[in-house]
């Protein structure tokens, strides 16, 4: 069965490693913080100026001065630090953040990503996404395999305006874990009960399928 949003977040959480600083985008990526594997320690950075982001506050304890990049009220963990936006993006562009997880409207087989603009519709802006994708060494995209019309978002070439070029290494969808290398998608894992045929049929980009495709292990 295809994963739900939490399932995608759980699978991405398995990619976290002890000692990493991690930036989580808005939407599914935010959920990754709920599934940190036992025995490892990671720190979450939010680009509006906090390292050491904690869970949402208890009701009545919200602080208008303490938010994440999605403008949600948050808390600060012990050892957290606040800083300005220039220093924050210094951490990002300077590659001091080990992993960036973000959503996408489209991803292409050479690692391009589009997630900020649909021409002719309201343009909300790129926020920090262009800085993040241009600099991070390790970018995982959390997204649905197809759009609402059933069209694949895993493409040979992006059709929407790009956020960054050649930067995505891994994609986790409700159906599969895909790696991008040498200009192709490579099928690493499939969601429990999802067939290789279904993934192939919903992937527009070139997809390399090995003889054996293991199922994701999600509890």
């Amino acid at each position: 069965m295809a994963l739900d949003k939490d399932g995608i977040a759980k699978r991405i959480a398995q990619e976290l490693r002890d000692g990493w600083y991690v930036n989580l985008g808005i939407g599914i990526p935010t959920l990754v913080a709920n599934y940190i594997p036992e025995g490892i320690e990671v720190e979450f950075q939010s680009e509006n100026g906090i390292l050491g982001m904690g869970p949402f506050p208890f009701e009545g304890e919200e602080d208008a001065d303490l938010i994440n990049a999605g403008k949600q009220t948050i808390t600060a963990r012990k050892g957290a630090v606040f800083f300005d936006s220039a220093l924050s993006f210094g951490m990002i562009r300077g590659q001091h953040v080990q992993l960036t997880v973000l959503g996408a409207m489209e991803v292409s087989q050479n690692g391009d990503i589009a997630n900020w603009k649909i021409p002719g519709k309201m343009v909300k802006g790129m926020g920090g996404a262009m800085d993040l994708v241009a600099s991070a060494e390790n970018i995982i995209v959390a997204m649905m395999h197809s759009n609402k019309a059933g069209e694949s978002k895993i493409l040979k070439e992006c059709t929407l305006p790009l956020t960054g070029v050649g930067c995505v290494k891994k994609v986790v969808t409700e159906l599969a874990v895909l790696e991008i290398k040498e200009g192709k998608f490579h099928l690493l894992e499939r969601a429990p009960g999802v067939s290789v045929e279904e993934i192939v049929s919903k992937t527009e980009g070139d997809l390399v399928v090995p003889d054996v495709v293991p199922e994701m292990k999600i509890d």
Partner: protein, 232 residues
Amino acid sequence: MNKVVKNVEEALKGIEDGMTLMVGGFGLCGIPENSIARLVEMGTKNLTCISNNAGVDDFGLGLLLQGKQVKKMISSYVGENAEFERQMLSGELEVDLIPQGTLAERCRAGGAGIPAFFTPAGYGTEIAEGKEVRVFNGKPHILEEALTADFAIVKAWKGDTEGNLVFKATARNFNPMMAMAGKITIAEVEELVPAGELDPNFIHTPGIFVQRIFQGEKFEKRIEQRTTRKKG
């Protein structure tokens, strides 16, 4: 050097039609609420506003948009504002969208005497169109120019009579860089204290960047996305 002005009216003197303003804050967090309210009263028009966001319909910079006081917005993300959308789609409002880290660095550079810099952000996208590209360490970068403003309006938690500022939590965001990049920088603070009360070791923005400081009359501090968890 005493930077204290009596009130918001005095603080905003000299802001005229057609000027460029930097306005601190991220979303509604750390915005100079009292100064924005005063700008609405003043009715100053044709402003260019450099601010990460454009507020919401009835708060923050959204208030200036309601009064059609803004000619151009320079921001990274403007998605929370229906009036903004209407004015942008009808062509009344010019909008320049800039990657957030580039916006922060352009303000910092403007205040730090760096006229331009190369960044990887936006290479290969439409925001790189017409910009010089250079390869450093095998990676392409685009040239971005510094930003300055006639007035920068920032909001701090505490400030002293010398204009030294301390920010609270994530309300710091764009405020320190914008303070550096204003020809005249106005700081509105929650608490104004005598010189010597702030520990010099823990001041975020040195008073050299601030020309006018005042204590805001009231702060609503509206929360944009109230998100909580239940006590379990």
